[in-house]
Structure formats: structure tokens, C-alpha cells
């Protein structure tokens, strides 16, 4: 069985609340279909993308992770997306060092009007991750019971 046959990747994406999230909304308004196996975590700006968040996502079993930001030069916070890009690149180095394919992580720059590009990227990432197969860090699926709550904030 090749991984791409019935392996459905679990993909997490981080977007800023400006262009990234808006592009997803535009894709919705235009009814552009893309795979349903991606979930969006919204951040105020992709400059808020902590390396820890990206690593946590992989550690917790995401097969692929990507960031959708405003176009370069058009960040609402001057250059937050460039900071996000630098951290994405650094995280890719870390992934490589621990033996995970760096291509599981990527970053895309869109404008809020680019719904079609948002959908296209979702397809592309889905295919890419299907080729790469499941995240080896992923544990066996838990029993169908409600998840354990994470520790309460200190």
C-alpha cells in the first residue's frame, strides 16, 4: 500500500488575521473547494509565529504545517511576516536535524483577495504531504474519547 492511497494527512496552518485569514474567507465566498483536512490557527500577525508553535504542531502529530501571510512588503505590521519567514526557515533546519522532512513545513504569501491561490496552496500542500507520508512522530490514534485537557495555565 502506498501512503498516498488512503492516508489522509492532518495539516495545521497558521494565518494572520489580515491577508491570510481573509484569503481563506475569500476562497469560501467564491466556493473554491480544497481538501478538508486542514485546520486554521489564527494569529494576529505571522510575526507571532513562535518556533515553539511549529515544533509543537509536529510533536503533536501534524503531518504538515504551513503559514499563510500577507505578501512580502505588505505586512500590516511592517515586517512581521519577514520575521515569521525567518522562523519558518530556522524551524526547517531543526526539522532536518531531527530527521523530519523540512518540506513538511512551508510558508506562503498571499493577499486577502487571493482566494484561488489559497485553495491552490491547500491542494499543493495536501499532495506534498501525501507523498511524504505520515509524520513518524504521530502516535497511534487515541481511543474515541474526549481529549485530555492540557495543564491549566499557571
Amino acid at each position: 500500500m502506498t501512503p498516498s492511497n488512503d492516508f489522509i494527512p492532518e495539516i495545521t496552518i497558521f494565518t494572520c488575521i489580515y491577508c491570510g485569514y481573509m484569503a481563506a474567507d475569500t476562497a469560501g465566498s467564491l466556493r473554491l473547494e480544497y481538501p478538508s483536512n486542514i485546520k486554521i490557527v489564527r494569529l494576529p500577525c505571522t510575526g507571532k509565529t513562535d518556533i515553539q508553535y511549529l515544533l509543537n504542531a509536529f510533536e503533536e502529530g501534524a503531518d504538515g504545517v504551513y503559514i499563510v501571510a500577507c505578501s512580502l512588503g505588505n505586512c500590516h505590521h511592517e515586517h512581521g511576516n519577514e520575521r515569521g519567514l525567518a522562523r519558518m526557515k530556522r524551524t526547517r533546519e531543526i526539522l532536518e536535524r531531527i530527521g523530519l522532512e523540512p518540506e513538511r513545513l512551508d510558508m506562503f504569501f498571499v493577499s486577502g483577495g487571493m482566494g484561488a491561490t489559497f485553495a491552490k496552496v491547500a491542494h499543493e500542500m495536501n499532495e506534498r504531504i501525501q507523498q511524504l507520508g505520515p509524520n513518524p512522530l504521530k502516535q497511534a490514534p487515541p481511543a474515541p474519547s474526549p481529549p485530555q485537557p492540557p495543564p491549566a495555565p499557571s
Binding site: I8, G28, E33, S36, K39, V41, K48, Y53, P141, P153
Partner: protein
Amino acid sequence: MRQLAMPGDVTEKPNSVLIIGGGVGGMRAAIDLAEAGIHTYLLETSPSLGGRVAQLGFMFPTHDCVLCRGTSDHGFGCTRPSISPVLMDQNRHPNITVLTSTDLVSFEGEAGDFKVGLRVRPQLVDPQLCINCGRCAEVCPEIRPSGFQLGLSIRKAIDKSAPRSVPNTYYLLEKVERCDECRKCVEVCPTDAIDLGAQPHELEIHVGAVILAMGFQPFDPDEMPELGYGRIPNVITSMQYERLASRSGPTEGIVSRISDGKMPKRIAWLQCVGSRDQLNPYCSSICCMYATKEAMLAKQRIPEVECHIFTMDERAFSKEYNHYYVKARDDLGIRYTRCRISAVDEDPATGEVILRYPTGRMHDEAAPGQGAIQEDHFDLLVLAVGVRPPAKAVEIARVLGIELNEYGFCQTDKFSPLDTSRPGVFVCGAFASPKEIAETILDASGAAAEAMRIMRDNLGKRTFSRSRPFLTVDGAPTERVISAQPPAIAIALCGCAGEISNVVDLQAVADYAAALPKVEKVEILPLACFQAGQERLIELITQGRTNRLVIGACSHRTHEPLFQRLMTEAGLNPYLVEMVNLREHCAWVHPNDPTGATHKACELIRMGVERVRHSQPIYKQERQPVRAALVIGGGLSGMTTALAIADAGYDVHLVEKSEELGGNLRHIYYAAEGDNPQRLLRDLVNRILGHERITLYLRSQVTRHTGSVGDFRATIRSELADGTHREHEIRHSVVTLATGGLEAGGNQYLLGQDPRVLRQSEMEDILAHQPERAARLRSVVMIQCVEPEGGVKYCSRICCTNTIKNVLRLKMLSPDCQVVILYKNVITYGFREKYYLEARRRGALFVRYTDSDPPKVSLEPRGARQALVVSVNEHIFGKTLVFEPDLLALSMSIQPSPDTAKLAEMLGLPLSPEGFFLEAHLKMRPMEFADDGIFLAGMAHYPKFIEECITNALACAGRSLTFLSRPSIQLGGVVAEVDSERCTGCLTCIRTCPFSIPEMRDDRNGIGDLGGAAWIDPARCHGCGTCTAECPANAIQLLHYRDEQIQVGLGHWQVPLQQLSVD
């Protein structure tokens, strides 16, 4: 006729302002007035706001996507955007009433008390009921060209103007006879929002002032059939190119040929189509720059594309524009040829456009003779169409009783540039003269200031609060204290009239969600945003111990303010609600995968529940603003700002370095338009000296400036007559920098070495005060663009018109005098083109020189005397022209005043490459800085004409009044907080912050109780979170986006798919 219900107190005198035109200028003026506590009607004749700017793709010279910065929709969430989200449907400013599809019918009364009759055309879809599902457009059989996409794509007769229009609703473009038979849209509408029988109705409103922001109409190239528009498919207008290049355009920004959709390899632009010709003898001001922008965008998108611009002059006359133009020309290889093409042909075989033009007319080329005619083929020809008066200018001018000028634009006066001929009616933006976005924004805020002057008794009266994430009038119930309670979460799942529930199995989601920890109850609502849904939601969150809410519905971008408001009404902090997008992100994009969509919905709801569990209430700080303003600089701009603020009833501290008010205005004796600047100067000085609210500090400088908006502190150091100094400590809410600029000195072209070589200001002095000497002049040469050695090259904007003004005066005093102007580009933008034409008509000779071959000036003996000899290579005849003028006048560049850099350092403000203050955004925030409460006026921003300085100064006053008049300013909210005890003082946050906000404070102790820790001023933080992600000690958290709120189920999908797929 029915009276429009006006919220708030109804006094005898109207407390509203009417703004006509809902483009970028109208929206900006409405926001300023609303913020100053004055009610505003924003009238727009089309069904949605945004105007021309909403159709642009990118702005020059920043290449910002206009989408984000320019329209109300896209300002969403920005802490300080230019057009903030206060116009969005669910987040409307309480002081703004938007009237779309509305026309002006009648107008009567006087300034302060107008009665206005309006007619509202029915849109046939009730915006209150439309849920944006688009089913009507899906079934509508009537296809129309899309107006928003300028015919480059199609729409249905019933549709939205753009995917994200404001107001966000569908409408019927025009009802045709078939509609009544068809009625498919009516049948399919799930909320019964469509009424094909709706009739227009009339309204009467009562306002104190009117602002016209009607924009412009692009020139219609059908009037010039020789250019092939409409005949040759690959000839398009620049507005159509904007749509092609826009990421919200029909191709998402891929520029392609109209005839076959192919990627163009060669694109040409023709400048001045509908400008600077017999029909429209004025310059449209914006086309040179936008054509350069469009060519640069093509270069960025299409590899190896060739761009060729055919132009008369290259008018790049504002801040950073020259740099932009040089970059386009020298770095990107965009070709500029100086010529005017009068015929366009098509190659029928290839669809290519054929142009013929002379060679040897590129930048810096000086080929002699007419140049050989070359024939060239292009894939796409873009006509850079000019700016015409708005379509309804004549009709509206008639109703309002205002005058139009000779070109059909609004008639204004140089010294009152925002006044129309009727008192109480003001104008802003391109309706006054062709202009770009930044100037329109300045105009708009300035016109708002003029309206505030009339309405000053109402300033700050209609209070509103930003204490919550949405705007509100006060009066919400007291908030429940929930800090001691464990989270108890209610979940509401909205079916959106089938839009969600037809795809997502909401019952399955509800069953799953009910088992999640801390979830008290789950309920499915048919339509959460409708009245019944809202009432049920309030019941849900007020019953029992529920203290948090998750809503699975549509986008937080459109509806979060609504649900946050409901939380407040139910006595809960608005940050305790979490929206999960089951519509745009789920049902709408996975219609053929209901299992996947349901699975995803469960996962998203689970993450929402986890996130809201960790949400904490957030409160903003309240600050009572000090009711005083500081204005630095006592020239034209500073005096204008000070007077406008003082007239509105607030104290002003006006600081002037020299011993006299007036600045550069003292040395301007006449204007091209004929007005007398000295009269303006006397008037301003007298009003300043006599004003009880203005404290004037002459021979004074600001030596210290601290604090933030609403609470600044400054030290003013004054030199007394006996040479001693005295210091004054002041407090103020806002500060305006109006420190001005200076005509440069230097020793170019024998300046300072021969008395016959003078600066243009000295020439003006001779013309004004020694007319008999001027009358004897027989030959005068003037050289433009004289710049100090080694500095940044930029266009000083005003010199060409200033030179031409002197030429006309000289020709009047000495009609036979030979006047030769040596220039690079003649920058007489807007209606100033008239004086350029007039100077040429009177016989002044304009000779172009190039950067690489500048004129030469020398002294040569002629018997006993030394002749002043000017020689220049004339590039059309290929000959060297030699003059021996009586006088040589030099147009020196305008530099920022010498203290600019020092002041910038004191206030922590950036400078532009030219050395002027650098505003927050060149286009959308032309007079502000990243920090609130600091404004920029006049030549401290860039060289400006008198009327431009006045506009800018009024804009600063208007914006200042929005803070001064507010009972209270709310600060903070979603901002970053440093946990000092974890701070190692590594300075990473200081280096990372895009806005330079974190600072090291020695009154705080860091880790290990060592002295010094980072501190982030909540009044200044923009809340992007960049520092929090970079802090190596994890000492900074962004409120509402704390780590524990984000790190919830980032990876593996915890909802088992098989459980859902049984069905």
C-alpha cells in the same frame, strides 16, 4: 416624505454633517467627524463604499496592496489603519449613518442649518436580512459585465459588487421586465430578503455642514478613436490594467492579453490621454506615477517583459517619487520615450498593437534632429487616462448652488482651498483638482476640520467608547466578575439558513462537542445573527453559570463585533467569546465532502473550546486627555493649525524659533493665481496675536518631549530679550510638527560669486520691490533643479510653478525681455499647467537639458566688463545655445529646516531619505506617525504650495480635535505584556519590534532582581506579537493570544474520523 430617525439628542441646531461620496476621502472625513463626536451621514450613489481606490491594485510608491490599506473592509483588525473597520456592517461607528444608492435631490438653508432632500433607490435586497449566501446570484439568469472589474469579468444582475463589499450585501443592479416573471431569486432566498416590488423613497435630513468627496471620473478614451480603444482588443485603459494587476482582480493579478489571454511580452503606456491637450488643458497629476507603478508591477510579475512608456514630462514630484522613478528607469529598465503618439494600429494576424515614434528621445538622450521614426509592436497598450470631473458634478453643483471652475471641477480659492463658493459646503479630494490618495486623505481631514469649526458646539457631544474591541455608546450593564469561577462554556452552532447545516452535520458536531470538558450546553440555532438568534444567545450566556461562549458560525472578520456586543449586553467581557468559522472555512469550501466537513467542524470547535477555556477578560486603560495642543513652528502651517484648534475652543501652545511669525510666507509677495500672500500673512498673525486660547512662545524651542497621546509633556526654552533663558513646562494631548523647509544655498553656477546670479526668491524680491529695475531687463536665464552637491536627488515640487510665476511677472514688466528656462521636467501639475501654457504663449523659451549634460555658466571678458555666459546643448536642433543674460535665476531645491533631525530624535520619529519627517504611511497616513497624537504639517513633510500647506495644517487640526474633544481615550487592549521577573534584559524585543516600542526601564527589575527590564507601553503597542515569539526567555505574552490559548491541539486531529463517517 419621512424624517430619518436620528439617534441621540435632537436639538434645534443640527448636530450632523453630510458627506457626499463614499470613496477614500469621504470615508476618511466621516471617520474624523465621528471620532470628534459629530454625527455623520455618508452618502454614496452606488450600492457600496470604496470608490475608485477600491478598484486599484497597488499604490505607488510603496506597492502596498490597496485592498488592505485603502478600503474599510480590509482595514479590519488594524489597530490604526487609515480607513479603519468602523464602516463594516457589524462594527459601524455609532456616529456614522451610511446611505448607499442614495442621491441628492434638494438643498436649502445656510451654514450651520441646512435641510437636505435625498432619494434612496431600492436595492431590492434587504441588507438587514441578506446573509450573503449567494443563492440568488446562482439562479439568476441575467448576465451583466462586472462594473467593479470594469467589464473584464461578468456578474449576475443580482450579485455583490465585489466579494467583500461594504455594506456586505447582494443587490439587484437593475430590475428588468423579466424579473417579475422569473422570480427565481425570490423563491430561493432563505431569509426572504428580496422584494422585487420595493420602491424608491425620499428622506429629509438636517445638517450643519456638507463635505463633497465626489472623486473623479476617468477620461473615456472613446473620445479619442485614433488611439484604438474599443476597436483594438489589446488596447485597454489604465483602470482596466489596475484590475488585471490587482490580486482581487479577475485573474488574481496575472496581467494577460485581452484578445487571447496570453502573457504579454511587450507592454506600452501612452501618457496624457485626456490630459494636457486642447480638450483638457490641465495635468491630471497622477498618471505619470501610476504608469510607472503599473510597469514596475509588470516587471515583477512577468519575467523578461519589456515596458515602454511614452510620455511628455516625467512628473514624479512628491516624497520618494523621484527615487521610485529612477529605480524604474535605471534598475528595472523601463523605457521612457518623450513623445506624443497620435495613431495606433493593429496587426490583425497577431493582435499586436503597432506604434510609431521617434528614436533618440529616451532619458538622457539628446539625438539631434527629429530622430528616425521607428515602428514597434506591443502585445498590450495601456492608455494612461486622465482625471475628469465626477459624472454628477454639474447636477450636484446645481442642487447645492456651488460654482464649478473652467474645467468643471469644484471652484476653490488658493487661501481657502477646501471651501466651495457656498459657506458651509466644503470639498475634498479629486473633485477639487486631480490628486492622489495621500492628498485626498489630507483634504478629507482638513475638510472635516472646517466642518468642525462650524459645528464646534457639538464637538465631543455624541460620545462613544473604545473601551471594548468594538465601538459602542456607553451604557452596557455591569460586567460579571468571573475570575474566581471555573470556565463554563456554552456552544452555539449556527445553521446559517442551511448554508452550514446543509453540508455539516451539526447534530453530530453538537453531540461531539457536548462531551468536551467544561462544556455546559450546546445548542443549534437556525440563524445566530438574526434577532431571534441573538435573543437566544443572550439567554444561553446569562443562564446558569455560563461564563464563556463558542460560536460556530461565519467569519470572525465580519461578525465578531456583533457577538462581542452580545457578550457585553449579557454582562460578560467581550474577550470571552470565540468564533469558529464553519461557513467560509468549512461548509462553503467542502460542499462535496460532508464527512470531511463535519470532521473538520468538530476539530475546529474543539480548538475553539480549548482556546476560550484559557481566555481571560481584557480591559483597556482610560485616560482623560489634557485639553491642550502643542504646535511647533510659527509659519503658515503652524499658524493655521493653531488657529483651527483654538477656534474650536482648545488651548494651543505655539512655539516659534525665530523672533517673528510667518516663516517662508514672509518672503512670498505674489502667487501665480494672483492672490496676495502678504494679506494672508497679516491676517494670520493678527488672529494669532489676538487669540485668547493661543500662548505664543517666540525665540523658543522645544528641548524635551515625553509621554504618549492624551498626556504628553514638553519643556519649552525661550530666549529673553536680555539674552537669558526661561523654561516652561507644559502638558498637552497632541503635537503638530510644522517646522517647515528652506530654499537651499550653494555655489553652483557662480551663485554667490557674481551678483547677477541669484536664487529664485531673490528674483521675486526684485520683481516685487524694484519693478523699474525689472522693466530694464533684456535677457534673463533661469535654471531649474539646482541641487546641492552630493545630496539625495528629489523634485522640490513647487519650483517650476514658482519660476513660471516670476516669468509671467517679468514678461508683464518687460514684455520684450528674452526669458529662457532651462529645465529637466516641467512640473506644473493640476491646473498649474495653465501658467506653463501662458508663459509659452508670452514667448518664454523652455529648453530641456539632461543630467549628463547640464548647462555651463562662465564669465567672459567683453572689453571692460565681464559677461555672464550661459551655454546649453539644445537636443532637438543639436546645437549649443549661448546666452549672455542680465540675470541668471536658479531654482534651488527646498530642504528641511536645519533642526528637523534634532527634533526627530527627541520625538523618536523617522526621517525620509530627503531629510524630511517620514510619516507612518506615504499614502494612507500622510500626516501621522506610528504613535498616535503626533502630526506633521507643511514643508516639514515635503515642499508644498500655500494651498497644500493650508490643507495639511487643517488636517492636523482636525485630527488633533478628534483627541482633544473626546471625554476619555482608551488605551491598550490586545497588547504585549512583559513579565519583568523573567526578563533577562537581552534587548531582543527592542530589536524585533516593527514600531520600536519596547524600552528598557531602570525602574523595573528583571530576572534575579537585577536592575533594568523591558517595558512595553500599552498606549503604543500595536499588538502584532512579534516580540512575544522572539523573546528567548518567554517573558512576553500577547493578551488574547497567550501561548496557552494558541497551543491547543496544534497537531494531530483528535476527533476520530471513523466515528463520524458511519451515517
